[in-house]
């Protein structure tokens, strides 16, 4: 019993370490490898680069990376089309239904290469790592990701409930993959 508790505490601690780490610099080979997304022929789904799990999927679980993604979301005017997730010119991101799949590599591909009907490609504006940060954050806007690592709100005018509250579409059944 005690041992099990100890192991559990150890695991929690490890998770905490990973989640709070501020890894500000990746080695260039790892950066290069981050670009190796194996997408399905239709550009949806596929396998993330091998280096991502090796790094511990920081862009989805690390608080610092998520908050960097959130800043990029504002800085690169994602709000212009997607608002704060509610959608406007572009589709809503918070309703739990993703046209090109909810997995992070699809979101990555959408940002990097753009999508038909208006989503521009950002590969000339953002570095690969920034795109991963942004993708990780964008994923948390939807219904699939845990919220505890993401920041709750910006210090600016708010047009919606805070992000730590469930998104409006939480009760919508997720579409089958």
């Amino acid at each position: 019993m005690t041992r099990r508790l100890l192991i559990l505490a150890g695991l929690l601690a490890l998770a905490a370490c990973k989640r709070e780490q501020r890894e500000v610099r990746l080695d260039p080979p790892a950066l290069d490898a981050l670009d190796q997304v194996a997408l399905m022929p239709n550009g949806i789904g596929g396998a993330p680069p091998d280096v991502l799990p090796a790094l511990g999927r920081p862009y989805e679980t690390n608080a610092y990376q998520l908050s960097q993604g959130k800043r990029l979301y504002g800085w690169f005017n994602c709000t212009g089309c997607h608002a704060n997730g509610g959608g406007n010119v572009g589709p809503a991101l918070m309703e739990g239904w993703w046209r090109y799949g909810p997995d992070v590599q699809s979101i990555f591909a959408s940002i990097r290469d753009g999508r038909p009907h208006g989503m521009p490609a950002f590969k000339d504006k953002l570095t690969t790592e920034q795109i991963w940060q942004l993708a990780g954050y964008v994923q948390t806007i939807g219904t699939y990701a845990a919220k505890t690592a993401a920041p709750t709100r910006n210090d600016e005018m708010q047009s919606r409930p805070s992000e730590s509250r469930g998104p409006a579409g939480a009760d919508i059944a997720p579409p089958s993959r």
Binding site: A16, R19, E20, R71, R153
Partner: protein, 637 residues
């Protein structure tokens, strides 16, 4: 409160000394064993733990300081990353303020105040136990987080928006805010206990003008805690609400205000300095009296100075905000009030000097620390006058000048007296003296090391070095001074190391002290050293402020208490006339359970607001267990 029906055969006046000791010990003692140790409510045991724990945090905080000095010894050093350095300096500040300075002063009071006022236990002893467990839990939360790379990195002052949801990702700032809650709960609990103990449990005859000065200081300190701490709890709770559930207390875009945080924080933060300093003032008064062999000069003046310091403490928080762009006229008002606090401080210094002047000072180690205190604290007071001036402050605010200033005030003004107090009361607590010879070395090393470390920081600040920088460019020419400071810090650290070693060694191998090794005049020395579980077999009755000097042969005692249950004497506030016999609670494990349940809720609430709902169920259960009538005489009274 009620007076039990008189049963002549169990009143203490019918028993001889040996029989009385036996019966009292049976009622008051804490049995052996882990369970009993966890359940004890004896203020001496809890006070000892409190003191020891606080010194552990002092040592840990000191290690952080050494780490910072390593990083700053050379320009552009890479001993640690910027991220780690920010955590380290935040931890150093938060740890020293919340886990060392305030708790250690309260801990000394938890141990000493009941003895000094001549009662058998502190008021609300179970709350006292709860307070200690909460304090330990808060310390574990903060240090545990630090070990897991989750330590707060926002400065001990946690200014928004840097600590807000957008700029402080992760749980680091939440850990800081919850640590505040832990330590504030424990500090508030102790403050309430002390106020009640001092007002209602004083020995018969100890009227207001006979209260020992340390007890006066703790009374004023307790009121400061009660008034100041709610401000920081409001602030840290608002911050955590901003961060966790998206409120907008500090979001200017939604009508919140960034400066609101600073007002709330410093409305607490400035009195906090006096919460740390006033107990030290009381210690200095105690040491000065004992070692100059005469009653204190200007008792009334000292008491009034402590009280007026306590009142003025709430009128000068804005001097931490002189460069935030507040209206100049308002700032000048706060300059005036900040300067004015030099007057009561001056009164105290002059009264101590007059006492020493007309006394026969004996330079034992505790008094050495008092002289070290006078030297450094007066200098800290002088730089305090400087930073109180708005124009002066605009140049030195947030520079190393301020770092030097507040270390002179807090280390010189509070830690030196505290170390003197440890040397002074160590025999009271352990029955053994610390080494006089080693103590002189400790005093010398700490005093010299401290001044060599912190005095050059004044110059660094004027030469333009800001605070809280993890490094500095070589071309700024701060390198040689910083290297000197870092080397001096090692001298200071060695002094502390020697101090800890001496304390450990003396625990077992110190010279047995006897009951009153310093021939001190106050009541804590009127019982054996260390004191028995019931403090006093028969409660002393006092007729002067220095009972052990004025009634050297035999202190008058009060009788008529029941020896077969825990009983304390309740007396009137002004003249300490006996009013009633009040039962004092027995040992209980429930404070520990309550503290554990509260800790779980507080930490859990960082991760989900639902913790407040589900976490309150165990807390309620534990509280029901705590207050459930058990049918024992102590509970029935």
């Amino acid at each position: 409160m009620s007076v039990a029906p008189e049963e002549p055969e169990v009143l203490d006046r019918r028993l001889d000394a040996a029989a009385l000791d036996r019966r009292l010990d049976a009622v008051w003692q804490t049995p052996r064993g882990l369970w009993a140790a966890l359940a004890t409510v004896d203020h001496k045991i809890i006070g000892r733990r409190y003191i020891a724990t606080a010194f552990v945090f002092l040592a840990l905080g000191g290690l952080l300081a050494v780490a910072m000095r390593l990083q700053l010894a050379r320009p552009e050093a890479r001993v640690m990353s910027a991220d780690r350095y920010n955590q380290v300096f935040t931890m150093h500040g938060a740890n020293m303020m919340f886990l060392f300075a305030v708790p250690v002063m309260e801990a000394m009071a938890v141990y000493l105040v009941p003895l000094m006022v001549g009662t058998r236990n502190i008021a609300f002893p179970r709350l006292n136990a709860f307070s200690y467990w909460m304090y330990v839990a808060g310390g574990i939360v903060l240090w545990g987080a630090f070990v897991f790379d989750m330590g707060p990195d926002i400065g001990w002052f946690a200014y928004v928006p840097l600590s807000g949801p957008q700029y402080a990702p992760g749980k680091r700032a939440d850990i800081w805010a919850q640590m505040i809650t832990f330590t504030e709960v424990s500090a508030l609990a102790v403050a309430v206990e002390l106020v009640v103990t001092i007002f209602k449990q004083r020995a018969p005859g100890m009227s207001l003008d006979r209260i020992p000065l340390f007890v006066w200081s703790m009374l004023v300190t307790s009121f400061l805690i009660i008034i100041a701490m709610p401000a920081i709890m409001v602030a840290s709770t608002s911050l955590i609400l901003d961060r966790l559930i998206g409120t907008h207390f500090f979001n200017p875009a939604e009508g919140g205000d960034v400066l609101l945080w600073q007002h709330l924080f410093w409305f607490f933060g400035h009195p906090e300095v006096y919460i740390i300093f006033l107990p030290a003032v009381g210690m200095v008064s105690t040491l000065v009296v004992t070692f100059s062999r005469r009653p204190v000069f200007g008792y009334l003046g000292l008491v009034l100075a402590v009280i007026s310091t306590g009142i003025l403490a709430f009128g000068l928080w804005v001097h931490h905000m002189f460069v935030t762009g507040l209206p100049r006229l308002g700032e000048s008002f706060f300059t005036g009030s900040s300067m004015a606090i030099a007057i009561p401080s001056g009164v105290q210094i002059f009264c101590w000097l007059a006492t020493l002047w007309s006394g026969r000072p004996v330079l034992k180690v505790p008094l050495l620390f008092v002289y070290a205190f006078l030297f450094t604290f007066v200098m800290g007071g002088m730089t305090g006058v400087m930073v109180a001036s708005v124009p002066f402050d605009t140049q030195v605010h947030d520079t190393y000048f301020v770092v030097a200033h507040f270390h002179y005030v807090l280390v010189g003004g509070a830690v030196f007296p505290l170390m003197g107090a440890v040397y002074y009361w160590f025999p009271k607590i352990t029955g053994r003296l610390m080494s006089e010879r080693v103590g002189r070395w400790v005093a010398g090393l700490v005093f010299v090391g401290f001044n060599l470390t912190f005095f050059p920081m004044h110059l660094l600040g004027l030469a333009g070095m800001p605070r809280r920088v993890y490094t500095y460019p070589a071309e700024m020419q701060w390198g040689s001074v910083n290297l000197f400071i870092s080397l001096s810090a090692l001298v200071l650290a060695s002094g502390f190391l020697l101090f800890f070693w001496d304390a450990f060694r003396s625990l077992r191998h110190g010279i047995p002290a006897g009951d009153n090794p310093w021939d001190a005049p106050t009541l804590e020395w009127a019982t054996s050293s260390p004191p028995p579980s019931y403090n006093f077999a028969r409660l002393p009755v006092v007729s002067s402020a220095y009972p052990l000097w004025d009634e050297r042969d035999a202190l008058s005692v009060a009788t008529g208490l029941r020896p077969d249950r825990r009983e304390v004497l309740v007396s009137s506030v002004a003249d300490a006339r006996p009013e009633a016999r009040e039962s004092s609670p027995r040992n209980s494990i429930w404070p520990l359970w309550t503290a554990i349940a509260t800790s779980i809720m507080l930490v859990w609430s960082i991760f989900t607001p639902w913790a407040v709902v589900w976490g309150s169920i165990p807390i309620a259960t534990a509280l029901i267990g705590w207050f459930w009538p058990k049918g024992v005489p102590e509970d029935d009274a």
